[in-house]
Symmetry: C2
Subunit: 586 residues, 2 copies
């Protein structure tokens, strides 16, 4: 230790670190858990959230550390890697530390990423379980979601085939669903573009009801959104009954409760409520719980994971999705509002590479070699690009949190480049630390860990960007101007009509605002880097999720089903038939 | 103990019995397993098949007991209940006994059955886990199967969009799949009739390839068929590469290996190879492993489950699907041939109710009260109906096994009715035992257990019905005449042409014959009860499964996707939000 990530692949590092990984029983002793609070699933385990919360209810929460980033290149800037690095660095400093991250989806794993467990010496293990379904939560969500679709489509068929009298014999009232207004689709946890737009119910009277339908990826399911924000099983159960699956011919919503399928959905999801315990390659505990999309949901691990982590260890690290304009904004105004939790510090991950891109560097394309600007010293590009980082620092400061900037260092970064960033960051009053966790694990993250520990002693006057009783359009205006830096917001007539309806109907009073926007720019246009000026945020629709209680103003393309490329990751994955070991996840 | 099943619902009995159910650690001690041979999954555990087989390879096998039935009413005659009863009865006699049964599908569970764990005092526990996904094998199969479909449909899209040169850059050779000859569909483990016939790939160039497609229920997947007959992980891995997903435009098969997805499929299925350990309400061990359809597959639990069970206990009980003409025939000529295992005895489950139906009693319809003929003594119907039982006894005897007939007794059966059946059965030389395991558990199954123990001492001269080098059509002729009692077989020109091709191509030489026929009659016509005479078996198609290596002559309707009815079981299922307990499985 540390392993040499320039010579070893991530799966090789994982394999080594997994040899001495604590067993569920060893974790139980290490974490001081009661016997029935830890539920083994093979090499890993789930934690019984309710039992632990009940036992530790009087214990004060630990320090709460959130990790976000600047606007990334399409390659990503190592947010999960940095999250692992912070946990490892705090561990090296002798702190009682742990974290919680998202569960990855099978779609990206089989298509591009191979895995999403960080990298090098800042890696989550066990890697195979993490990459391939973990303890089954996504499967459970997939089943619960699709059961609702079975209920919906079977009901539509039976209502078409039977008169009211026949329905009454089965104690059913006609729901009279409008087949043109079915909102919900099916889910599968792969990137299956062929199922994006489909026609179902072809055949005779017993082959369903013929209509247009669709598949999304499982992690885009409203059920996943619900899991990420549910405070407990009761909250989850209630929300599962309020999912709007369609509208009837009079325009009234038809819910999962109307289909009498919400109880069974909860039965299929009963185990998802408990977070799964994994760890870093240096064996600090890290929970994995929920993995919702960042556009129609919070895009970050669960409230439950944070609640239990804050009780179990003195420093709890959590990651919010994408850059601070998306991830931190939702963490701040949605996740924290729902949980009542307040972060002590936020870490903004930046790379010299991304700063150069924002400063006008050439386009970064996955799979192609990086242009020379990114591998050789170029202080001018860094200095110009810093404005994106300063904007993100400013976003975090608006919440009352003074961020720590982490320069996630690459071996091509020069001393002068790093010195420049450090100087400009420190001028804002934020802390700045360089970290080499990928190369050196916790030993490489000590400067970062110290900055985080120091920052955790700062008082935080945490305040939301807008109150929940503010009308929807006004909220969007504030987010667009204050967070994205837009001049204003434009609404299509359709979007505005919907917004007015939501503003006037008291049923939507406690609904959260969940912006849908690209993460590749502060604006809605992914090609605009740095800090775009003189633009207006166009809202073309507002989606509603009745169970998650989200209103989603749509300012960008929204695809709930990614595609599988022509050279997908699954081509390189196989097993060793003698040991069952999975190879090719990297 | 025993519980009173006339007053308690099955889930209440399960709940009581689960309170003292052994934990995975207790099982480890009880079964003398090494620490790494048992893998806990919550309250239950998987057994590491390879490690146990390796340790016990020199231990002689226990006695092998198979459970089949007469042609059932649509209500079923209690085959799983009797399997549990035999295990409990042998347990009460102090024998080291265990079993293996199939995992139920979410489709029937959510639609009609609620659960499929036996009933009364002859019940498998834990019931909730058993009914709702167990340790995730069906989810793993669903994912592995659908990943193949993702690979297929993405490949068709990319081949349509890219020329050969572009494909070559990705190291891809054009497969040139014929969209009219795509054989494989998608799977979902619910009864989703709306997905039976669909059109996919609607949209632009990046939205897949537009074509007709279909969904089957997961348990009908060829992957499930493969799991049930695989001898180990190596065998599973090899078979996963040979699945025929489509044909190219020249008519050549395109396989999962051609799509380079077979390794990743194996990765998703890596844990399915290990059976799951559950138990009876009297706490004898019972494995649950695989759950394939009985028409296109063996319809019974896995070869792996039997192999490990026979090493672990002195008496191993397994259940074959449906009646002896389907279940036992496949057990005998396919499962035993592939495993090399030989049963010591076969138990044929019969009920007075089913015998009366075969004797000309009125139609039995699920959900409607039983006609008086079935609830009052009627020796004439029983005597006439016995011919169906005698036919099944005769089928089993042809294998060289002398069966034990179990009269699965109902409280409405009269002494005279039972005496009559016993006399007629014993005239054939078969043993006969009356059993009350539903009412009394193991105490009620002692007569049956004693008959089974006694029968296990008989020598068995086990012989297959046909040699594997016999041509397909001749095999079907023998099965039709010798097992079903048909006068002969008729082939449609299409089926005959296919049969000739399979007979002449050496690639199919080691393929098994897997008949597709209703289980509700000895004939292909489900309305013909008793022992139909003077009929010919019509074969209209022959399906081929390249990974499972099955040729399936089709003599009946074949639906790989059942439908959800108008009053489905999911309406009555819910959870207790304070404990997570599932209610309404019955």
């Amino acid at each position: 230790m540390p392993y040499d990530p320039t010579k070893m692949k991530d799966w090789q590092i994982a394999e080594e670190a997994e040899k001495t990984m604590p067993t569920p029983e060893e974790w139980r002793e290490k974490l001081g858990l009661e016997k029935d609070e830890i539920i083994p699933y093979g090499r890993i385990a789930k934690l019984d959230f309710l039992k632990i919360m009940n036992r530790l209810k009087d214990r004060p929460n630990g320090k709460f550390i959130e990790v976000t980033a600047i606007t990334p290149t399409p390659l990503g800037e190592g947010k999960t890697t940095t999250t692992m690095g912070i946990i490892e660095g705090l561990g090296k400093r002798g702190k009682n530390v742990g974290g919680c991250i998202r569960q990855p989806s099978g779609g990206p794993t089989m298509n591009i990423k191979g895995t999403a467990a960080g990298g090098g010496n800042a890696l989550l293990i066990p890697m195979t379980e993490f990459s391939l379904g973990l303890t089954g939560d996504i499967n459970d969500i997939t089943n619960a979601h699709n059961l609702a679709m079975v209920a919906l489509t079977a009901r539509m068929q039976h209502e078409a085939n039977y008169d009211d009298e026949e329905l009454a014999k089965r104690n059913l009232k006609r729901l009279d669903i409008d087949p043109k207004r079915v909102e919900m689709g099916w889910v599968i946890d792969f990137a299956a573009q062929a199922l994006r737009n489909i026609i179902i119910g072809i055949g005779g009277k017993k082959d369903g009801f013929m209509m247009a339908s669709k598949f999304g990826i499982s992690v885009s399911s409203e059920l996943m959104a619900i899991l990420s924000i549910a405070t407990d099983l009761k909250d989850l159960r209630e929300r599962l009954g309020k999912i709007i699956v369609a509208y009837d011919k009079k325009g009234n919503p038809v819910t999962t409760a109307d289909l009498e399928v919400d109880g069974a959905m909860a039965a299929w999801m009963r185990n998802t409520i408990n977070p799964t315990l994994c760890c870093t390659v240096e064996h600090q505990p890290c929970l994995v719980h929920a993995g919702p999309f960042a556009n129609i949901a919070v895009g970050q691990s669960s409230i439950i994971g944070d609640r239990v982590g804050l009780k179990m260890w003195d420093y709890h690290v959590t990651e919010s999705g994408f850059a601070a304009d998306i991830g931190f904004e939702k963490f701040w105004n949605v996740k924290c509002r729902l949980s009542g939790l307040v972060p002590n510090v936020s870490v903004i991950v930046a790379t010299i590479r991304a700063l150069k891109m924002h400063g006008g560097g050439p386009k970064v394309v996955p799979g192609r070699p990086l242009p020379e600007e990114y591998t050789k010293e170029n202080l001018e590009l860094v200095e110009k690009g810093i404005e994106n980082l300063l904007h993100h620092i400013n976003i975090v400061k608006k919440s009352g949190v003074n961020p720590v900037v982490c320069i996630n260092s690459f071996y091509t970064d020069t001393e002068e480049e790093i010195k420049l960033v450090r100087r400009l960051v420190e001028q804002t009053g934020a802390r700045c630390a360089v970290s080499e966790h990928w190369l050196k694990g916790g030993e490489g993250a000590l400067e970062l860990a110290d900055a985080v520990i120091d920052a955790c002693n700062d008082p935080v006057d945490f305040k939301y960007l807008y109150p929940l009783d503010m009308p929807l359009r006004q909220r969007v205006e504030i987010i667009a101007k204050e967070v994205y830096g837009a001049d204003g917001v434009s609404w299509t007539p359709q979007a505005e009509e919907k917004a007015k309806m939501f503003e006037s109907d008291p049923a939507y009073r406690d609904f959260q605002t969940m912006m849908v926007k690209t993460h590749l720019s502060l604006s809605h246009d992914p090609t605009l880097k740095g800090v775009p000026k003189g633009w207006v945020l166009p809202i073309r629709d507002v989606l509603v999720y009745g169970g998650a209680k989200f209103l989603c103003p749509v300012a960008g393309d929204i695809s709930l089903m990614p595609g599988t490329g022509s050279d997908p990751a699954f081509r390189r994955i196989d097993i060793d038939v003698n040991t069952g070991k999975v190879m090719g996840l990297f």
